[in-house]
């Protein structure tokens, strides 16, 4: 329009700008980098650059015994190490036809669901922080700190647990710890409401997230999004319910999906809201487990030289960042022939390039936060 009015010499010339977001940037949640091409505030392209945290965890898996590899799996995703433990142990157990004791299964579920709450708290907390709401982050971290303490009591570690072992769990959960978990849950349930009042129903927060970077169901499947990101796009799929493992079939819980709560289906707010609802579901699962906890040994007898017969297996667990797949190939020796870890963040990261086209720079930050990508889980 302006070109018609002004002579050419007076037209205000603009050009695309290329900026590097990260690798050390508070909103990238770890060591990630985006090469962003913008026209003013509008992004024309945001290319993710990953690999800064590549530690060859898959190669290490070929060099370690099955038992020896469990602590390494922790490092695949430090925010949800319990699930990485469980995925690998389930794969090894399936290959070696190893039984898990019933109490061991309950200990696993308790530890995992506590871990899920901790991981989602980080996710929703940092989400607020990235948008500019610092206070809710501190509230979330305060609760997570209690979970870290509980975890320390359960297995001696606060982040990299190495708790779930082949055949069960490393240490039994004592009745005293069970009581403490119950006290925590009684304290935590009202906190979710408080958190909602503080952040979820905040007008500014909603306006920043609703209708931003909506992912259609088709795109979610094409890019193989998993977990909360997939559910936010309206696909009711939870591995705990649909490909049941452990004792989940005996437990009652809902699978929250996105409904376009405040805007379009599959927008940033839906992804956020699904996680908040999952906090409640995890709390529900924990209460049931604590009630149903059977007596017995926490780990079954597993030979020290664990040699599963030759074969291969693909096992999925529902981690906080979705379907975590372990593809383990055994050649009948003490060492796995190939360990492949398929993680939710990896595929979530790949969709950012497509979604970022045409959105504002500030919305890119919301998009990254809403997908809950976790750098170590992408790179492994």
């Amino acid at each position: 329009m302006s070109e018609a009015v002004y002579p050419e010499s007076e037209v205000f010339h603009t050009e695309d700008m290329t900026i590097s977001v990260g690798p050390q940037h508070p909103s990238t949640h770890g060591v990630l980098r985006f090469v962003v091409r913008t026209d003013g505030e509008v992004i024309s392209e945001a290319l993710p650059d990953v690999g800064y945290l590549h530690r060859s965890i898959e190669k290490i898996g070929e060099k370690c015994t099955y038992h020896g590899y469990v602590p390494y799996t922790d490092r695949a995703d430090y925010l949800a190490a319990m699930f990485a433990n469980q995925g690998f142990c389930m794969a090894a157990e399936k290959l070696g036809a190893t039984e898990v004791t019933r109490r061991g299964e309950f200990c696993r579920v308790i530890a995992c669901e506590l871990n899920r709450i901790a991981s989602h708290l980080i996710s929703v907390g940092t989400f607020g922080q990235d948008i500019g709401a610092i206070t809710p982050f501190l509230h979330a971290l305060r609760e997570r700190e209690t979970i870290n303490d509980l975890m320390e009591e359960i297995c001696g570690a606060r982040l990299t647990y190495n708790y779930i072992r082949i055949g069960g769990v490393g240490y039994d959960i004592t009745p005293q710890t069970c009581d403490k978990i119950l006290v925590f849950l009684d304290h935590f349930d009202p906190i979710i409401d408080e958190y909602n009042r503080l952040l979820s129903y905040n007008k500014i927060y909603i306006e920043r997230l609703a209708n931003v970077a909506a992912i259609t169901k088709e795109d979610a499947l094409q890019y193989n999004l998993v977990g909360p990101n997939l559910r936010a796009s309206g696909v009711k799929w939870d591995i705990r319910r649909d490909i049941p493992y452990s004792v989940y079939p005996e437990l009652e819980f809902e699978v929250p999906v996105g409904h376009g709560e405040k805007g379009t289906l599959g927008d940033c707010y839906d992804r956020y809201w699904v996680r908040i609802q999952e906090l409640q579901e995890s709390s529900k699962i924990l209460r049931q487990c604590l009630k149903m906890m059977p007596k017995g040994p926490a780990i079954s007898k597993v030979p020290r030289k664990f040699k599963p017969p030759a074969g291969e297996v693909y096992v999925r667990v529902e981690a906080p960042r979705g379907d975590m797949g372990y593809y383990v190939v055994s050649d009948g020796t003490e060492y796995a022939y190939r360990v492949r870890i398929r993680t939710g963040s990896f595929t979530a990261m790949a969709i950012i390039d497509k979604l970022s086209r045409g959105i504002m720079v500030a919305d890119l930050i919301a998009l990254i936060a809403s997908l809950d990508v976790d750098a170590p889980e992408i790179d492994r």
């Binding site: 690999g51 799929w237 291969e312 297996v313 190939r338 398929r342």
Partner: protein, 170 residues
């Protein structure tokens, strides 16, 4: 659908292109000719009965057994609607492995294939953006191959340094 039925369906559609079906294992799998992978995948996605709308995983295995040396590319297909899965395997030579990309069928394949290219050195023909993803652009070799030997130094920094502990213990 049972894995056997899926296999029968593919075999009928692509006679001679598929084989070595194993249905008695944890995750039933079958071998596909390298040349037919794109057609088979497209058929499996678009057919109303199979409806594999998701590529769960794409990875590779390096087999170095004598007389059976190969790079095996493994596709894990899954269907949310039908709740079934199938595993496709493609055997490629260890020297200069090359296969067509399935990026046009599932977008998720883009990054999966980049990772396999980076760590196994498989060339995906027709890929839109085949660059290393985990390692630096100028890295030498493909680490997940069994015969991989780390380069001695990268960018002037040694990659192999004897731990000090060994010296102290002597």
């Amino acid at each position: 659908m049972q894995a056997q039925e899926i296999y029968n369906k593919i075999e009928k559609q692509f006679p001679g292109k598929v084989g070595l079906f194993r249905g008695d294992v944890f995750d039933p799998h079958l071998n596909v000719d390298a040349g037919a992978i794109v057609d088979v995948c497209r058929y499996l996605r678009d057919d109303a009965e199979t409806a594999f709308e998701v590529l769960s995983d794409l990875t590779a295995i390096d087999w170095t057994k004598k007389d059976d040396e190969k790079i095996q590319v493994v596709y894990h297909l899954f269907s949310y609607a039908k709740r079934h899965q199938i595993v496709l395997k493609v055997d490629l030579p260890r020297e200069a492995p090359r296969i067509a990309t399935v990026e046009g069928i599932w977008k998720a394949a883009n990054w999966f294939e980049r990772e396999v290219f980076d760590l196994f050195g498989v060339d995906f023909a027709g890929h839109s953006d085949l660059r290393r993803i985990m390692l630096p652009e100028d890295w030498v070799g493909h680490p997940l191959r069994k015969d991989y030997v780390e380069q001695e130094e990268y960018d002037g920094i040694s990659t192999q340094r004897a731990p000090l502990v060994d010296k102290l213990l002597k």
